[in-house]
């Protein structure tokens, strides 16, 4: 295993890029490529990362870089890898797509590549909304979050749907490797990228990447907020290797989801009732992942009657 000290000095994603101060995407990209190394070729679809990492004729990437459209990361890295194989080059094609580009618009292309078990690495930079175009909701946006398309009004307050379980969808393709990562857990992060690098077949790295304006938070807290996400159960660090799931880091004591929410302006409007709903969702997830009930003072609250995914709006539209 590599430790922080053993990482190479060289920046393969150079300074001078134009991400917002404190950007969790930039932080994750820099360290991922640091571990993946020079023999990597990168594809980035439409997203923040394509804009702040490359503005013609400038680029931050010091490895070959390719960009076409938004929805085709799976197809593009497939093609790149095929070309390298044909030319006899030992290069890994790696796609860095956003959550919009993975949960929603790029899902079919990713699914195709996963189904064919292409020998590539797919990285999802999950900042939980379409940030590049000014913060619209995606399938990765959590319950309650404000975005410009899930505004906070008198009737409806923020996103009404729960974050889609992308991990299950990806793992259901029975690929060699799926893992969730957090930049606030460096050793786990490095180990997983390193592991993915050395496996053959379709590898999926799901990175939790805070966004400063999108989450309305202090830029200094990027790392802190990812730690809080893991401690509260909003984000779980695990991996699925050839169908076998393993938790890679379990927080000592479950923290209440409120602690996590209150660090971010996008959640600050949430009513006690909505926070409770989200807490129940987290507790259920905690139970599924860790095979144990969450902390008693956090999780032993009376659950609301309805199933977690059925909200009032849903009822209004579809009946009970």
């Amino acid at each position: 295993m590599i430790t922080i000290k053993e990482l190479p000095d060289e920046n393969l994603f150079t300074a001078g890029h134009t991400a917002c101060p404190g950007c969790g995407v930039a932080m994750s990209i820099r360290n991922a490529i640091r571990v993946l190394g020079k023999d990597t070729s990168v594809y980035v679809p439409a997203s923040c990362a394509v804009v702040f990492g490359t503005t013609f004729p400038y680029g931050a990437w010091k490895v070959p870089f390719f960009h076409t459209a938004f929805e085709n990361t799976g197809a593009c890295i497939t093609g790149m890898q095929a070309a390298f194989e044909k030319k006899g080059k030992k290069v890994t094609a790696v796609g860095f797509a956003g959550d919009g580009g993975t949960y929603d618009i790029g899902l079919q292309s990713m699914s195709g590549a996963a189904e064919r078990n292409e020998d590539v690495i797919y990285i999802c930079l999950d900042n939980e909304a379409y940030m590049n175009t000014g913060i619209q909701r995606s399938g990765g946006t959590p319950f309650g979050a404000w975005t410009t398309t899930t505004p906070v009004g008198t009737k409806v307050q923020g996103n009404r749907r729960f974050k889609k379980n992308l991990g299950e969808i990806v793992a259901a393709h029975e690929i060699p490797y799926y893992a969730t990562l957090s930049i606030g857990h460096p050793l786990d992060f490095i180990r997983k990228v390193e592991k993915a690098k050395n496996i053959k077949g379709f590898r999926f790295l799901h990175m939790f990447t805070p966004c400063i304006p999108g989450w309305k938070m202090d830029p200094a807290k990027t790392v802190e907020v990812t730690k809080r996400a893991v401690e509260s159960g909003m984000w779980t660090l695990y991996e699925v290797e050839n169908g076998e799931k393993k938790i890679t880091f379990k927080p000592g004591k479950m923290k209440s989801v409120r602690d996590y929410l209150m660090m971010q302006g996008r959640f600050r409007h949430m009513s006690d009732e909505d926070i409770k709903k989200l807490q129940m969702w987290v507790c259920k997830k905690w139970n599924l992942h860790y095979k144990e009930k969450g902390a008693p003072e956090v999780c032993e609250i009376v659950p609301p009657e309805e199933h977690h995914a059925v909200t009032e709006e849903h009822r209004e539209m579809h009946g009970p």
Binding site: G16, P21, T55, P57, P219
Partner: protein
Amino acid sequence: MFEVRFHGRGGQGAVMAAEALAEAAVIEGNYAVAFPFFGAERRGAPVLAFTRIDSKKIYSKTQVYSPDCVVVLDDSLLDTIDVVAGLKPGGSVVINSRDKPEDIDLGISVKTAVVDATSVALEILKAPITNTAILGAFARATGVIKLESLEEAIKRRFGEKLGEKVAERNSLAARTAYGRTVIGTSKGIKKLESKKQWLPKYQELPAGGSLIEGKTEAGLIGPGSFIENKVSGWATFRPLRDREKCTMCLLCWFYCPEGTIVRISDRGDLMTNYDYCKGCGVCANECPVDAIKMVRARA
């Protein structure tokens, strides 16, 4: 017609300032328009916004190329941008700066008003958002709008979006800055070379826009060339590391999103290159032994 060009950085609220100014003009019975220049800019990157004010209807839809007044929300922009480009004769400049007008070199000698809007904002709003403070200085320097109309406009604009309390504080920021504004004349010594751009003929453009590492008259292009882009001006604060306290755990080096904390392995040391530090504060927040302090970037 009175035309204003705002130079700011993403997140400083230049667009909101342009809008509030237009609203103040409308309150006084004039016509006004305000709009931003849209680019791919993130927080901290240079941005433009414009306001036009007239007693008649305004049909002009272009950017403002020859302003009557230029408003600069961040004086670090003066190092890289020719803010007075196209300024009308007799025009004026309003700058957020701690310097006196006489000490500011704009390349031409013009009427210049300064106010330390960042300090006003930090004092009153507890955040370095200088857009309302600088409008106070604008009102004082140009007399184009009255302070009362400006305060009314700020209350309307901000009240709607952010609530009464925030609106009230922003209005106070404008009033405070109005009082602290110093008016004088700038120096006109430096020659600001317009930033060289790589402008290849279409025959020289590589197929598909694909670039290899290269150097042109305008500097590096292609892979890794973003180091041409110095971003220190984005920072309000910057980190100072106490070598005595530092245990070389390397967490700051790992986390820095810019990669501007450089590790010099053979000397077992770290060095922060401020050219690329945006002052996010992550390094200071994460240092386990509190060896890093954030200080104001331009003292």
